[in-house]
């Protein structure tokens, strides 16, 4: 089991008996079999209230369909169907993928385990929902057809391919070019299976399953076909395994061991191909390429940049850009995961580690507000690479380049010991005792209304609540988050969250993006919108600075005029919006920094009302937050309180910065005492009077809430640096030294405090949908009038948004390489 992983227990039910967990034999849950066909709710916490292990159990193989998929309220319907449809790809085998192997319920009951315990356990250990990922099939019909796979007959939904049918049956079919999230290519021929009454073996990834088909995957013909295809693939493949980064997690290695023959017959010269320069992130050794075209399809379909293509044919086929471009997408790192061989690998990670010496930890990314699930691979005390984890609802299997490659910033410019600024202006390293006493001394010298606390971009919820409690105990209400404006209203959750949810965005058909450059602020949300555009022919209009979003969109300018016109109904787009089935309005969090924010939001609310964007079954009004800490901070109420006097900066005498690096030094009075608690020596550390080193997100177990309201936790992958401590512990210790001791001593006590402030932060891995209140519930402030100033870019340089990125060499290389491109 991967360290830190939640126990996704796999349950096996043979009819009504033998209901046992195959991963944790000592698990106390599920000792009694629920009735066949019962839906158990899938959740991250292993034990449910009723004592059953919460795994999804679908009694598919008794030829009865699950009778109540709709009754399960936790899983989105399409994921339900996908799980029900058994379209979870069981990957080839072994360590064949770089994406997290999260065991999910395979449901392949009758066939797993029937062959013997050892095989079943091994199969489960290699059960991977990668590299070809589970597919979300929008099963339009509930019709099923009957096919037979290796003699076992089963019901599958209509429209499935033979390969998917075999997977429902639990048979692993090897493949290279097929990926469940990409279009079907059918060029590797590794998935050949025998179907009765066909003259040739069929490419199962491309052949639709027809009723009454008899599919055979273990005949001598199929075996010979696989061996032959493997031999051909290895024909021109260089003998690079010792120097190839993909060794140990290479599909070609794994599948040749299982499905290939032990010898080849090739005695001529192998062909070689010139390497392509795709940028500072993706390393190419094109000789190793087997031309599966997964990267080509990914780039054109999902990333939306038609950079890569196949040139030539036959032996002289090459994959490249031809015009010597770099890969311009911010999702370009995902081709590294997708490539089954070592042709495309990670350049920063090249030659640094082998996959088997890395320890994996499941965690959450904090470079943007989406909360992509990642897996941190570390060796000893350093993070070697970051890989995506599967989460259908947030990031599918992709992560952005910033998430993937900014980890080398964790090794530079780290704060490792407390420091105090001496009268000469230099910073002196001191002990924790001395540093905390210095802060306490400063606290006692100022009045509560002269103090302020600012939460930075990467702060976890535990430290936010600790800081808030600490400052409140001292009588200070001057608290705000950096980057979201000081007069934000955190009362109603649906006013600052992505209400449609990231997965829900896929179903929309009209988008209005206001003041947000989604491609830079949340690349994976942009990928979802692109998915909606491709699948539903969604129309997108943007109001804001121009940007290339990788899909066709209408640019309505960057001023507020278009916004007012749509609200008044005079704009052609407003008819489009009102006629839409699932309209979505996304307001960027940069809008909250404007002085006329209230007026703008009022106009947006008018639009939302008129177009009925918010309905009973669909909430299309969204706010896209920019930073990982914002949603949690707003939920916890880290906003200026009743006695806050923020605007008069001259009154500020004590400033506590919780990792806040974007505070302009001019805004801080010269005589203010600044305490900086963070993990990188970025801008604010130069102004700080006392520096308290905290832990980065890879080193602590912190709770983060994503912009859609999903609470997730990071796990510590590496120990914290030097003398640094967990952030909330520092504040707790400080509170004791100051004299207003906080009432919690352990992580669980801090999390219990969440229950008192914002209970949704206690429910990890769950999305608490915000209630939709009628617009009339909030008083309209008629004070501000909408200004004509245009919406500005919230993010200037995509690669340099937080302190970790600014310390990262890779991000600096990206900035210089991609500087002249539109999306930076």
């Amino acid at each position: 089991m991967v360290r830190g992983s939640k126990c996704y227990k796999v349950l096996q039910a043979r009819g009504n008996a033998n209901f046992r967990c195959l991963i944790s034999p000592g698990c106390k849950a599920a000792t009694e079999a629920p009735a066949e066909g019962t839906i158990l709710r899938r959740n991250a916490a292993p034990i449910s209230d009723s004592g059953y292990c919460r795994s999804f159990n679908y009694a598919a193989f008794s030829s009865t369909k699950c009778s109540q998929p709709e009754s399960c309220t936790r899983i989105p319907l399409n994921l339900m169907r996908a799980l029900a449809n058994r379209s979870i790809d069981v990957s080839s085998l072994g360590a064949s993928s770089s994406v997290q192997r999260t065991p999910v319920c395979s449901g392949s009951t009758g066939l797993i385990g029937s062959g013997g315990g050892l095989q079943s356990v091994r199969h489960l250990q290699t059960l991977a929902v990668t590299p070809t990922g589970p597919k979300i099939i929008k099963a339009d019909t509930e019709e099923t057809i009957e096919v037979s796979v290796d003699g076992h007959s089963l019901q599958i939904p209509k429209g499935m391919t033979v390969l998917q049918a075999c997977e429902v049956a639990g048979k692993e079919i090897p493949r290279f070019c097929y990926h469940s999230r990409l279009s079907i290519a059918g060029n590797c021929r590794m998935c050949l299976v025998e179907v009765e009454k066909t003259p040739k073996p069929v490419a199962s990834c491309a052949m639709p399953a027809l009723p009454g088909m008899k599919i055979k995957t273990d005949t001598p013909l199929v075996k010979k076909a696989r061996e032959g295809v493997m031999e051909f693939l290895l024909l021109n493949h260089p003998l690079d395994c010792p120097i190839c980064d993909q060794g140990g997690e290479c599909d070609l290695q794994d599948q040749s061991m299982v499905f290939g023959s032990d010898r080849g017959r090739f005695t001529d010269t192998k062909r070689s191909v010139v390497d392509k320069n795709l940028g500072p992130l993706v390393k190419t050794v094109m000789t190793r390429c087997i031309h599966c075209t997964r990267c080509v399809r990914f780039a054109s379909e999902i990333a939306g940049v038609p950079d890569l293509g196949v040139l030539g044919r036959g032996g002289s086929e090459e994959i490249g850009t031809y015009v010597e471009n770099l890969m311009t997408s911010e999702l370009s790192g995902n081709v590294i995961d997708i490539c089954p061989v070592g042709a495309l690998t990670s350049k920063p990670f090249a030659f640094t580690a082998r996959s088997w010496e890395l320890k994996s930890t499941e965690s959450i990314d904090v470079s943007d507000a989406l909360g992509s699930n990642i897996r941190i691979d570390s060796r000893g005390p350093e993070v070697m690479r970051i890989i995506p984890r599967l989460n259908e609802e947030v990031n599918e299997e992709w992560i952005s380049d910033k998430t993937r490659f900014s980890y080398d910033g964790l090794k530079r410019q780290r704060l490792n010991e407390p420091m105090i600024r001496r009268p000469g202006g230099y910073l002196e390293p001191v002990t924790w005792r001395a540093a905390l006493s210095a802060v306490a001394q400063a606290v006692h010298q100022v009045k509560p209304e002269e103090m302020a606390g600012v939460v930075g971009k990467l702060a976890d919820a535990e430290s936010i609540i600790a800081l808030k409690d600490f400052l409140n105990k001292l009588g200070c209400e001057n608290t705000w988050c950096e980057g979201i404006g000081a007069n934000i209203d955190a009362d109603v959750r649906s006013k600052y969250l992505l209400n449609t949810t990231i997965a829900g965005v896929e179903n929309a058909d009209v988008f209005l993006l206001i003041g947000t450059q989604v491609r830079k602020e949340a690349p994976l949300l942009n990928a979802r919108i692109r998915k909606a555009v491709r699948n539903n022919r969604a129309k997108v209009a943007t109001i804001g600075p121009p940007i290339d979003l990788t899909y066709d969109h209408e640019d309505l300018g960057d001023g507020t005029d278009a916004l007012i016109q749509i609200a008044e109904g005079k704009h052609p787009f407003s008819t489009l919006l009102s006629k839409a089935q699932h309209p979505v309005v996304i307001v960027g969090a940069g809008v909250f920094e404007r002085s006329d924010k209230d007026a703008v939001m009022a106009v947006v609310e008018t639009i939302v009302d008129q177009a009925k964007v918010v309905r009973d079954d669909w909430n299309g009004f969204n706010v896209l937050l920019l930073e990982a800490a914002h949603a949690a901070a707003l939920d916890l109420g880290f906003v200026p309180g009743v006695t806050a006097k923020l605007l008069s900066k001259d009154h500020l005498k004590f400033l506590y910065l919780l990792g806040a690096d974007d505070i302009k030094p001019d805004d801080i009075p010269k005589d203010a005492f600044v305490v900086y608690q963070g993990h990188h020596g970025d801008r604010s550390a130069y102004r700080a009077n006392v520096i308290l080193p905290g832990a980065a997100f890879t080193e602590k177990e912190g709770t983060y809430e994503s912009t859609e309201g999903r609470t997730q936790q990071t796990s510590p992958a590496v120990p914290s640096v030097g003398d640094a401590r967990d952030d909330w512990k520092i504040i707790r210790a400080l509170s004791e030294v100051v004299g207003v001791q906080l009432p919690y001593d352990s992580v669980s006590a801090v999390r219990a405090r969440f229950l008192a402030v914002s209970p949704n932060l206690f429910r990890v891995d769950e999305l608490e949908p915000p209630t939709v209140w009628p617009q009339s519930i909030t008083p309209r402030s008629s004070s501000s009038k909408i200004e004509s100033s245009p919406f500005i870019k919230a993010i200037d340089n995509f690669y340099m948004t937080n302190s970790i990125c600014r310390a990262s060499r890779t991000m600096a290389q990206c900035t210089s390489a991609f500087a002249n491109l539109k999306q930076i």
Binding site: L474, G475, D491, P759, S781
Partner: protein, 94 residues
């Protein structure tokens, strides 16, 4: 009622916890629908955090100066009773 206008002089933050769907939180939701706008207009600087979470029992929290907090459970109360509880909380002054 005058205490509503005086609310922010004593209470620094109000939090209303309730469940989105369950029946025990019906009255709380009604309370919010009826009273939030009023309270907010009279106390524009007061954070009134409306926090929903499925499966919890409704509760009203009030934070006073210097971090002191009090809470009352709202299960089984009707909307006027909840208003009365809020008034009670607003009078706490020590």
């Amino acid at each position: 009622m005058s205490w509503r206008g005086q609310l922010s002089q004593i209470v620094r933050e109000l939090r209303i916890h309730f469940c989105q769907t369950s029946s025990s939180s019906d009255a709380t939701r009604e309370f919010i629908l009826k009273n939030y706008k009023d309270l907010k207009t009279l106390n524009p600087g007061l954070p009134i955090l409306i926090r929903e979470c499925s499966g919890i029992q409704p509760r009203l929290w009030a934070r006073y100066a210097y971090g002191v907090e009090r809470s009352v459970p709202l299960e089984g109360l009707t909307e006027p009773q909840i208003t009365a509880k809020l008034e009670e909380l607003s009078k706490y002054a020590s």
